[in-house]
Amino acid sequence: MPVVQKDGVSNWIRRDPKDSMRNYLKWLGGAIVVLIAARYIGAQTIWGFVLDAPAQAADFVSRSVPPDITYFRRVLPALWDTVNIAVFGTAGAVVVAIPTALLAARNTTPHSSLRALALTIIVVSRSVNSLIWALLIVQVVGPGLFAGVLAIGIRSVGMISKLMYESIEEINREPIEAISATGAGRTQVFLYGYVPQLLPVFVGVTVYRWEVNIRESTIIGIVGGGGVGFLLNSAINRLAWDQALVVLIAILATVVLAESISAKVRAAVT
């Protein structure tokens, strides 16, 4: 908030005029973009359906209660599959992510071209959603749990290595210098200087990713990746809302449980 000198008197104003003009234009630009966007979307919308939506929603709700409890018999095995997808997708991803992260971190990479390669892998892997990866993978390995594991895993490689290589670059240099100063070899410096510092971070990152992957694997079945998402999709397609509600409840419970496990483990390792 500048003080302006004018006719020898200091004047307090909230913003100087140039600043406030620029600010105004920024908001105006934003508003115009949103207006155009809204019109664009509106043009492609069948308003009859939209107006009908509240009635539809009320219909879903009335059809979904009471939930079809017996459907748990199908949901539970699917949940088991879902958890397995998350566990093995994460585990497989970690195995690939650790070397990728070591290549991507400025202070551990053997060569800058390998660093570029690793960074590219990370970017491609994490910019594409696991559902989209599943769409591609299903055509190669066929629909099923294995496709789900691969899709979750491929996305996680990038997500995990990104967090890992950032933590490698922020490592405390002092103990590493101390270990080198004893005459230790490169591998020993890695084992004694890097590994102890990185291990807890890596465990935390992995467990956090597992939690996220539990969420992701609940829906991976929608595009053929197996697990409980498939049941949800089919229940909705059959308009069996009482069954859909059961699936939703089961997903919710699993996610909450995974969250609390993950929080406990991460608190324990740090």
Binding site: V33, Y40, F49, I132
Partner: protein, 268 residues
């Protein structure tokens, strides 16, 4: 010095798990679990070998992405995603403000707090794709469903984080406004809002970035955007176009991330 003494007798690293039985027990459980879990994946080797041909085609297609053949569709998909992102962020941003005030314990009475918190929790717990499925069934295919989905998703995200910020605001300045006889609304406008507005704008810009990422995937279940175009291309086994779309997605996601993080850095 007698070298007959074993080093282990002098010192050895204590194991992570003290109890031997427990140690072996856990190992065994993990192995048994891995065995049954991997078996349940029913990895169909012959099917995969057949599929590898197709994987190879896909790989080749990535080396020759085709941006031209379905150009209009790609452009429309991107515009649709952008439009969904913009409206949803605005919608979510505006609606999240009252909810977050309601969900801040230092501003709201307990019943209001509980209601707002529950709404936020339920919205947050639903995966964006599940939301998309529900809204597509409700309002029909297309970007409208997508915008509503992303808007809802944003409310959960922004509402929770903003509520936490509000709870962390400086009590003293609230007291100061109250001391001058300010009403609840005046407290909010003069004491609370100025403290959180920068963070809120920062979060909204971050959310803009997330919304674009999400907009690429909800198209797979019919909620419009570039994801729908990708789905069609994959359905036609048109891998060259699919590759082009993926490259476009990656480029925009990266650009969005870059822009959003540099704006946020400038804000603080």
């Amino acid at each position: 010095m007698s070298d007959h003494v074993n080093a282990e007798q002098l010192w050895s690293k204590p194991p992570v798990i003290e109890n031997r039985w427990l140690r072996w027990g856990i190992t065994l459980v993990v192995l048994v679990y891995a065995f049954f879990a991997i078996r349940s994946f029913e990895i169909d080797i012959p099917r995969i070998i057949i599929g590898l041909d197709r994987g190879y085609d896909m790989l080749l297609a990535f080396l020759r992405p085709d941006f031209v053949a379905r150009q209009t569709h790609i452009v429309r998909g991107v515009l649709e995603s952008v439009a969904m992102t913009a409206t949803a962020t605005l919608l979510g941003g505006i609606l999240s403000i009252p909810l977050s005030f309601g969900a801040a314990r230092n501003l709201s009475p307990l019943p209001v707090y509980l209601v707002c918190r529950s709404i936020l929790m339920i919205v947050r717990s639903l995966h964006v794709v599940v939301l998309a499925i529900l809204f597509v069934v409700m309002v029909g295919f297309g970007p409208f469903a997508g915008a509503v989905t992303l808007g809802f998703n944003s409310i959960g995200f922004l509402g929770k984080l903003l509520a936490e910020d509000i709870e962390n605001t400086n009590e003293e300045s609230m007291e100061a406004v109250r001391a001058t006889g300010g009403s609840w609304l005046q407290v909010v406008i003069y004491a609370v809002w100025p403290q959180v507005v920068t963070r809120f704008i920062g979060l909204s810009i971050y959310r803009l970035d997330i919304n674009f990422r999400q907009s690429t995937v909800i198209g797979l279940v019919g909620a419009g955007g570039i994801g729908a175009v990708l789905d069609t291309a994959m359905g036609r086994y048109d891998y060259n176009t699919a590759a082009a779309i993926l490259i476009v997605i990656i480029a925009i996601v990266l650009a969005g991330e870059y822009v959003s993080s540099s704006i946020r850095r400038r804000l603080t």
